[in-house]
Amino acid sequence: MAACVGGCLVLAVLLSLALGSRAIAPGEVLGAIFSGLDSDNATVITSQRLPRTILGLVCGLALGMAGALMQGHTRNPLADPGLFGVNGGAGLGVAVLVFGFGVAAPEAIVFAALVGAGAVSVLVFVAGLGALRGGALVQLAVVGTSVAALCTALTSALVLLDKQTLDVLRFWDAGSLAAPDRSAWGLVMPLMGVGMVLALANGVALRELALGEEVAQALGTRVATARVVGIAAITLLCGGATALCGPLAFIGLVAPHVVRRACAHDYRWLVPLAGCAGAVLLLLADTIGRVVSPPGELEAGIVMAVIGAPVLLSIARAKRLVSL
């Protein structure tokens, strides 16, 4: 099964490199990357498409893993960093920084995004774990969406006061892989790498936690440590992804569900596989957005909403709403 997901990932990467406003044959794509082929198309691939594909790969991995972690910790099938405002919190952090201090240095933006994402994920965890004990499911979704609404309202207030910020943020808001600025990559990608390692390690504890806190404790899991590691991983992954390509919703919701339906329920496998599925989704969404309305582009975030909302609808319309 893991091989199948891996195959999909390779296919999605190839598609993302080959398709665009100008379709390039797969042989030429491989030649451009591996044997240093020198042609116009090769230049397009190495300078334009490759960075974009790498960005999609990393952010998709991060968001898919973060979604699996959130669903595992809150035991809520609706958990998604985008819907629950973690990405919105990161966005608010950036807006506060840019507006309040006039700083637009990449390090500062990354830091602000991480702080915002961290604050919201702590809040969602507190509300979500409370809801878990109450046995109710929808509360967390409502808490998450209202936190997201609050973040959006505050962000737009800051944006409204400054037309220049609006011009930047109205594209950033849509969630897109077309970000031309690569100066923050060197800083964010290692942080996201740390987040991924933490997430993979957290998968082991989540497997026990899925049996309930008491059972997990009896089996020797340190519950408090596991929660803290989970929050740290989600913060690093979501904050980083949002700092790089804007708030993307639905990837963290859809990816774990796809993997669960296809193969794995064990969180040790679910977390990495959900990451791969997230990368496939984001790359596909981006490729679709590039192809569907030439000569312009549809932002990946908008394509993801069109793909993701029906999935949420199908979960909502299921005969019985199941808790994880």
């Binding site: 979704a141 409502v142 309202a153 207030a157 908008i302 909403a305 609808l313």
Partner: protein, 358 residues
């Protein structure tokens, strides 16, 4: 009548009057609360008419109100201050009333028109209109285009959510989840429209998207007033049926109200109220949710009351707008209502969670 044979009457906490066979409970508190609410509203309107950035003495304000002032005084006092206060009152009433109706018929404190997609749908269609170059000529004729478009968008979205949420009956839970999904779709449509627009119309549209009373003019009262009057009349007519519906579908039926008809009518009125305000002032968040809940607690009623919710909504929106205007940097009123309303929603949800019920 043989009163003596009955079980000895318990002393009821509720006082009442009895004339022959007809008994009536007297509940003085709602009357007192209504009068208090109206008094606060009048004080706020007077305050916002009298004070402002232009320092006008009281007698000049009075002169402007009675038609004896200069043109500038009349413009400031009548159009900018009094007109704006009236708009805030009417929009606040419409939102609170609409929230009270939807919360009552779904028996769910969270089901405000925002969750049911009215605002998001109305906002998407209105953004569509706003970002077509030349579709909205000058500001005075904007409402004539925006109001019908937003009404249509709000209605379509609500029908969509209700249709998708229907599985042999409405589960509140399912309705909320479907609402979140459809709202996300509508929001991404709006974002897409914004990225396609020119920077100037994007600036106009995104200012409008937060919910602001800046663009609302005195002439818009002509749109607002009839809609609010219809809402008021409908709430009066429906209040008994809606109250019966709070007890549940079956009990409402056995109390002699047709539950399906009541739900349909109340929902239609709520959608018209919410969509009209969205067309005029943009989606002002959280008022429709907070006002009926606050009214329920202030008026000590059994459920969220539509009319009292409207009164509280009017007070809330007017106060929020006064705060928003008097900040060092004037903000759209939607920001203030979101900052006040979102924590209220969180509190309510977390408190409800402890009771382990939706």
């Amino acid at each position: 009548m043989s009163d003596q044979t009955l079980v000895p009457a318990r002393r009821s906490a509720r006082r009442g009057v009895r004339i022959g066979p007809v008994g009536l409970a007297v509940r003085p508190w709602p009357v007192v609360a209504t009068l208090l609410g109206l008094a606060v509203l009048v004080v706020l309107v007077v305050f916002s008419t009298v004070t402002g950035t232009l320092d006008l003495p009281l007698d000049r304000v009075w002169a402007a109100l009675t038609g004896a002032g200069t043109r500038i005084e009349e413009l400031v006092v009548l159009d900018r201050r009094f007109g704006r206060a009236m708009v805030a009152v009417l929009i606040g009433f419409a939102l609170g009333c609409s929230g009270g109706l939807t919360q009552s018929i779904t028996r769910n404190p969270i089901a405000s028109p925002d969750i049911l997609g009215v605002s998001a749908g109305a906002a998407a269609t209105a953004t569509f209109i706003l970002t077509i170059p030349g579709a909205v000529g000058d500001a005075t004729s904007a409402s004539a285009v925006l109001v019908p478009a937003a009404l249509l968008g709000g209605l379509v979205t609500t029908v969509l959510i209700l249709a998708l949420g229907w599985r042999g009956g409405f589960s509140c839970l399912r309705l909320i989840l479907v609402g979140i999904a459809v709202n996300a779709l509508a929001a991404s449509l709006t974002t897409w429209l914004l990225t396609r627009a020119s920077l100037d119309s994007a600036a106009v549209a995104s200012r409008w998207l937060v919910g602001s009373l800046d663009g609302v003019r005195y002439d818009d009262l002509a749109w607002l007033l009839p809609v609010v009057l219809v809402g008021l009349a409908a709430s009066l007519v429906l209040s008994r049926d809606v109250a019966a519906l709070r007890l549940g579908w079956d009990i409402a039926g056995s109390l002699g109200t047709p539950p399906g008809r009541t739900e349909g009518l109340a929902l239609a009125v709520a959608v018209v109220l919410a969509a009209t305000t969205t067309a005029l002032a943009g989606p002002i968040g959280f008022v429709a949710f907070v006002a009926p809940q606050a009214a329920m607690r202030l008026f000590r009623t059994a459920g969220p009351p539509p009319l009292a919710g409207g009164l509280v909504g009017a007070v809330l929106l007017l106060a929020a707008d006064m705060v928003a205007q008097r900040l060092p940097v004037p903000l759209p009123v939607g920001v203030v209502t979101a900052v006040v309303g979102a924590p209220c929603l969180l509190y309510l949800v977390i408190r409800n969670t402890r009771r382990a019920s939706v």
